[in-house]
Symmetry: C2
């Protein structure tokens, strides 16, 4: 079984991260070296590139440019958010994918993404099994949200966490320079899981960060929030708040979508998002000078603040996908297992069933959130800290980033 | 005249930068070493610390912590925005300052800030001259806005410029990963001068940056803007825009303050600021997916992306202020003069009259802005590029910044 020869397709899917291309480089470089893989194809915009027969011949790229992928943020091949239909209801896409696989003699399929992408990967894997087309399908994990099931953590999370913690430390210095005081609200990504918002607390542990942190794992109470902010602002003269974009009221409705609220009383469209809205609510309650800051895309593409640990692990997960597939494994996602050797953090890969991964979300354990629901406990910090370690040696040109420049030659 | 012995006061004023404390370290370390300066006092919140007799004894700080100021963003002693009255109208504050100067035998006053702070510095200098109190007063420049008169550039500008250019390069990668395309609007500081917004164009020169850049030196035309964006979006499938927060219509009104606009048609309060407003206008015109990103405080406190050149020059300007004052100079601000030796950028200090500096703003020359008023020309790039060079060796603890921790012992 291990002697399967053929081409491979690699695709990137879902929201990018600052290290997703390190996984790409792991897959591509390992595949280019593997004697059983006859050709390495990169799909433009993930599965859409397969459907549209837009496949790049990665063997034609300059090896030095490929290596720069380790330090180039965001999906270099292009991404997509494409929901595959249930093949029992409509198998048009699957037939097309099979046609393309046959056309290029594709026997290896590597798909890099988060929950939804693993669902795509899983569906393709099961379809190929059903129709009896021999093809090894492997998921490569990726998500700043850190919410993939079964893995200790996800490639991309740590670099975003490091960006958030560092930025919070810097903003903390800035947001308290005046004697007039200020309340600063920082909005952080993570619609359903609070891993990233929680990472803001690293800043506080290291001396300069948010006084309050709100995660979507627990219900948000606007009155309690305003009371907390008011108390800290009165005590310290300043207050810094980190909130997940996904915080919601007890009825499940997102705070960011509340157009009208009894506590803040405005009823117009919210262009500026959650941070601006909460800052305005605080201003009305306390009279304090306020500022809302949305970290927006910056937090997920800030490669200059990437964790070297994250880069290396992302690369490792891509490489492991290829090596395991070449050895005969299929229908799995690569995951991470953490251990400590003489107190030193060690990360190894493991394999998870695609079906299990595709349908489950991993949230921050409730016992890692404090009783007041406005901060995280020490186990959360201990969990995140090893992941953000190490400074990458970023290639620069005139002190600006030198990102990979791919030729993207379409395969014939 | 050069043998004036006495204490010195150093204060920080106005909006902080990521390298303002490098200037502080330049002043404090030089003053601590100077035999004529008997005591080094740091004013809490700038001139307010003098008025309130809140002065820290910098000689009591740990030298290693003081050195960390070189890499610690934002005004470590606290800042203020305090407008001094005309002493001919109301000299209460000036009398109080003189009283404090006499109390501590202050013979040297160093004030670190931008235009308004140099006005404060100038007024104090002239008052001391008028009342015959011998005191050497020196301004130390600082502003990310880069708009101080008479100096080639200002400490703090280059690090913010580097942050902006790098962030634009990263966001550029992220904002075009999907096949659906996007228009991304990035809002950059600079109310009256477009130096920082223009710096976003560095990203474009290095392969990945805004297609359009709007500066406040020229009038903004919403219809032309929407036409430009629409054209580029149709051509390229994506469009990235950098705008200065200070862009204004031909009648002088700020675009950010336009609550109602014929082109975008919404009339409610703008919580999210200019980027969100312009993004929304683009969405209504083109139907494109949009995102507005405000770099907010991040751009002026992002010490992890500081320019080493900027750090060294900031330090140099503080040191030069002390050395010149000790040598007998007063009533000046330290400025920079640029030259090229064998093609290599060289920066030396020079001295400017405080009166001249206090009342003039330096804007981007119109000939450095393109004819279409949506970009900058090569001389602008050539001007900025040498300033952003060099990566600082940032002190870190567990891969997070290790900022200076001052004891701030009040002087007796």
């Amino acid at each position: 079984m291990s002697e399967l020869k053929g081409a491979c397709i690699f695709g990137q899917s879902g929201g990018p991260t600052s290290v997703i291309n390190a996984s790409a480089y792991g897959v591509i470089s390992a595949a280019l070296e593997n004697p059983n893989i006859t050709r390495v194809l990169g799909a433009e915009h993930g599965i859409k590139g397969v459907l549209n027969d837009r496949l790049f011949d990665m063997g034609q790229e300059d090896p030095a440019e490929l290596e720069l992928l380790k330090y180039t943020p965001s999906s270099a091949l292009g991404s997509c958010r494409y929901k595959m239909k249930d093949p029992d209801v409509d198998d048009t896409d699957y037939k097309r994918i099979l046609e393309i696989f046959k056309k290029y003699d594709v026997r290896y399929f590597f798909y890099n993404g988060g929950n939804d992408s693993m669902d795509t990967c899983n569906k393709i894997s099961k379809y190929m099994q059903k129709v009896g087309y021999e093809c090894r399908v492997m998921g490569v994990p990726k998500t700043i949200d850190n919410d993939l099931f079964g893995t200790d953590h996800c490639p991309g999370f740590a670099s975003a966490a490091k960006y958030i913690a560092t930025s919070c430390m810097e903003v903390y210095q800035d947001a308290r320079v005046y004697d007039t005081g200020m309340v600063c609200v920082i909005e952080i990504m993570g619609r359903h899981a609070g891993w990233l918002a929680g990472a803001a607390a690293l800043a506080t542990v290291y001396g300069a960060g948010p006084d309050l942190v709100y995660l979507p794992e627990v219900d948000f109470d606007m009155d309690q929030f305003l009371t907390d902010v008011d108390r800290i602002y009165k005590e310290k003269g300043n207050c810094m708040v980190a909130v997940s974009e996904g915080i919601h009221y007890a009825d499940g409705s997102f705070v960011s979508e509340a157009k009208t609220s009894a506590t803040d009383g405005f009823g117009h469209a919210q262009l500026g998002g959650l941070a601006a809205m909460l800052a305005d609510a605080v201003k009305q309650k306390t009279g304090a000078k306020v500022r809302g800051i949305e970290l927006s895309l910056l937090q997920r593409c800030g490669a200059h603040l990437a964790s070297e640990t994250d880069i290396e692990e992302s690369f490792m997960s891509g490489k492991a996908a290829v090596e395991n597939a070449a050895a005969g494994i299929t229908d799995k996602m690569v995951g991470f297992e953490r251990s400590y050797e003489d107190g030193r953090y060690v990360c190894k890969t493991k394999l998870l069933g695609l079906t299990d991964v595709a349908n489950t979300e991993k949230k921050v354990p409730l016992e890692w959130i404090n009783a007041a629901h406005n901060g995280v406990e020490k186990p959360f910090i201990d969990y995140v800290l090893p992941l953000i370690q190490g400074e990458p040696k970023l290639p620069k040109q005139d002190s600006l980033p030198r990102f990979a420049r791919l030729k993207k030659v379409l395969a014939k």
